[in-house]
């Protein structure tokens, strides 16, 4: 008999069709959060969506170095971190790599924070605790690069865009 957490994981994985890049390769993610616990939680979801973890970072400075090293398809970026906060890291990454797709993931969902991140070049925002179905929809949207989808509303805490 498998442990309960393994059974739950299998059931959860079956709920989501794998997300792929346009060349049909798995999507590669850079996960940035100062909490190892939060990173593990996001990595679990990435695996549920059929993705690969290209790298991890615990602060904004390391995130920039890891972005340059791994060239991920998507960055999941916390806001409040030591050394360099997420919004400044977004600005620096986007300045060098205009095509970067960065999704902010934070417990704090102040309108000012969200707007600042979007103005610096982040593509979307999701509030913790992250619901897998909400993150999945956001990733699908961000990966679609569909001009018709530009302007779709940001999903705030508890909201689920269908």
């Amino acid at each position: 008999m498998k442990p309960a957490v393994h059974r739950e994981k299998e059931i959860a994985m079956a709920q989501f069709a794998a997300l792929f890049r346009k060349d049909n390769k798995p999507v590669r993610y850079l996960v940035v959060d100062d909490s190892v616990f939060a990173r593990k939680n996001l990595i679990k979801m990435i695996e549920m969506f059929g993705g690969e973890v290209a790298g991890e970072a615990g602060d904004g400075l390391t995130a920039i170095a890891e972005f340059n090293r791994t060239k991920p398809d998507i960055v999941l970026m916390d806001i409040t971190m030591p050394q360099m906060e997420g919004i400044e890291a977004v600005e620096r990454i986007v300045r060098q790599h205009g095509e970067a797709r960065i999704v902010m993931v934070s417990s704090v969902g102040y309108q000012e924070n969200i707007l600042a991140a979007l103005q610096k070049g982040a593509k979307h925002f999701v509030q913790k605790p992250v619901k897998p179905e909400v993150l999945y929809e956001i990733l699908r949207y961000v990966l679609s690069d569909d001009p018709a989808a530009v302007g779709a509303p940001v999903a705030f805490a508890g909201e689920h865009r269908s």
Binding site: V5, K9, S35, K40, N41, S106, V108, G109, Q127, G158
Partner: protein, 167 residues
């Protein structure tokens, strides 16, 4: 004790644990505490200063913290002080983050300090808060305690503006 200041924290704790564990949670006890705070397990204390001031303590046993961490990681995690510390810290950040977002959107401006984690016998023993609300939340992983002491220091900005314009 102003319930309108306490309610966002209760709602946020309920939502964070229910959503994180994908299971319903229940408030099983709610009481006022005028005694020195007595920690039940591993506690994260977060201080708030600004228009409203006070502190929130999230308190849970190491066993409960480990169960929550294992659930969120999707794998049984080994027992370790670091995992427990990280888990309590991140749960506290999520509860506080969600509640201060609501309060901020209501017009309150304040600074939130990073969580202080207390695990050993010396932590939090000297807390002398005069009045706090204690909430016990029943989750599938075990009981979680929230101890909230919060008061107004200033009126909200739009209320201050209204008072000035009348005066």
């Amino acid at each position: 004790m102003r319930m309108e200041l306490i309610q966002p924290f209760i709602n946020a704790a309920d939502a964070v644990f229910a959503e994180s564990l994908q299971a319903p949670t229940k408030i099983v006890d709610l009481s006022m505490d005028e005694e020195t705070y007595r920690r039940k397990g591993v506690a994260a204390l977060i201080a708030i200063k600004g228009d409203i001031e006070g502190r929130v303590i999230l308190d849970l046993s190491p066993e409960v913290a480990l169960k929550v961490a294992s659930h969120l990681a999707g794998a049984e995690l080994p027992e370790s002080e670091q995992v427990v510390r990280e888990t309590v810290c991140e749960l506290a950040n999520m509860v506080i983050g969600n509640s201060v977002t609501l309060l901020n959107d209501q017009g309150f401006r304040f600074k939130v300090f990073p969580p202080e984690i207390h695990m050993n016998d010396t932590g939090l023993s000297g807390s002398a808060d005069t009045e706090a609300m204690v909430i016990c939340l029943e989750t599938p992983c075990g009981d979680v305690y929230l101890n909230i002491s919060m008061h107004y220091l200033h009126r909200r900005r739009h209320e201050r503006d209204a008072v000035h314009s009348v005066g």
